[in-house]
Symmetry: C2
Subunit: 200 residues, 2 copies
């Protein structure tokens, strides 16, 4: 059985939980407390020298890190990862966009605000994240204004990746109100009968 080391309040970890719920993949979830320094311990770094969650441990002990790599591994062969070569690359395109142009702004602003309580010494950094976050949201809005999902015409792990931090973007100070196509897409992602909420 799979083991997942993570914190469900972290979007990068929640992605894995949501996919596992959609695909009904049995697993054991092991909570890791980042603020208590648990990812910095030697034992944890043996699993991931980069000292980050999530980490997936396979039944045979092999480990995999990086949330989107884990999603691709778990979704392979399911209807959440297309087999067409171009569509598959489009899924990756959105996932790399997520890690480079979305997460560093929206997730980091949320972390500073929600986890750290927006301390005065990080306010400038928090405010500096707003423009980049809105740029990422506008790129998504453009796509979702003309298509129901990010890659192709069906729900895929690209949507799961971007949904994770987008649906809680308000916790990082981002008002999603003006992004109506994103709002409708969020509802579509949540319509799945196996939907699992971050705050459940």
């Amino acid at each position: 059985m799979y083991k997942v080391y993570g914190d469900i309040q972290s979007g990068n970890c929640y992605k894995i939980k949501l996919l596992m719920s959609y695909l009904e993949i049995e697993h054991e979830w092991l909570h890791v407390d980042i603020l208590a320094g648990e990812t910095q311990r030697d034992e944890f770094k043996k699993m991931n020298p980069n000292a980050r969650i999530p980490v997936l441990v396979l039944g045979d002990g092999r480990t995999l890190t990086e949330s989107n790599a884990i999603l691709n591994f778990l979704a392979d062969g399911s209807n959440l990862l297309p087999t067409d070569r171009f569509l598959r690359a489009q899924v990756l395109q959105w996932q790399f966009f997520e890690q480079y142009s979305h997460e560093p702004y929206i997730a980091t602003a949320r972390y500073i605000n929600k986890y750290l309580g927006l301390p005065e010494e990080r306010r400038a950094e928090y405010e500096g994240k707003q423009a980049g976050g809105h740029k990422a949201l506008s790129v998504m809005e453009q796509r979702l204004g003309k298509a129901d999902f990010l890659a192709g015409d069906a729900l895929s792990i690209a949507d799961i990746s971007l949904y994770a931090y987008t649906h809680v973007a308000h916790e990082g100070g981002f008002d999603l109100g003006p992004y109506t196509a994103i709002g409708n897409w969020i509802e579509r992602v949540e319509q799945h009968s196996n939907y699992f909420a971050m705050n459940d």
Copy 2:
């Protein structure tokens, strides 16, 4: 025939050039001048609303962005992308590591130094990138101290992705001298008979 919009001095674009050279993929290379604002023009943003290079244009006009998504698309079916599900996920693991934990430090420090000439107002940012860059290099060094390549036991697009900015890390102020395993790996990547140098 493929078209690639890029700047060969950008590691994210050079990755594509190196792979296309290794796989002998015919293409037309269209130079884009970032500093002249060419990625900000409306015509460019029609190809990539995120206003970044590289962009791959297929023969039928479809476009693909994000360097590592492009590599996965082009390498599919070749010996540079394994078919085994776990190995393929490991390739992605290193590519997501590259975009999140390596590029934002090493490539950005190099950009500030090499492209912008290390202006005084960005010196603090430049210096702030050094610790993160060395952390990424040490994660690579750990892996390459016990294996010849990043994913599995053969050259893959994971190596091409990380080679791109690592082999010019000194231009961002990173001395690779202490990273002997990385140094040996750089030589292995360059041994390919179709090797194409960034400065050719």
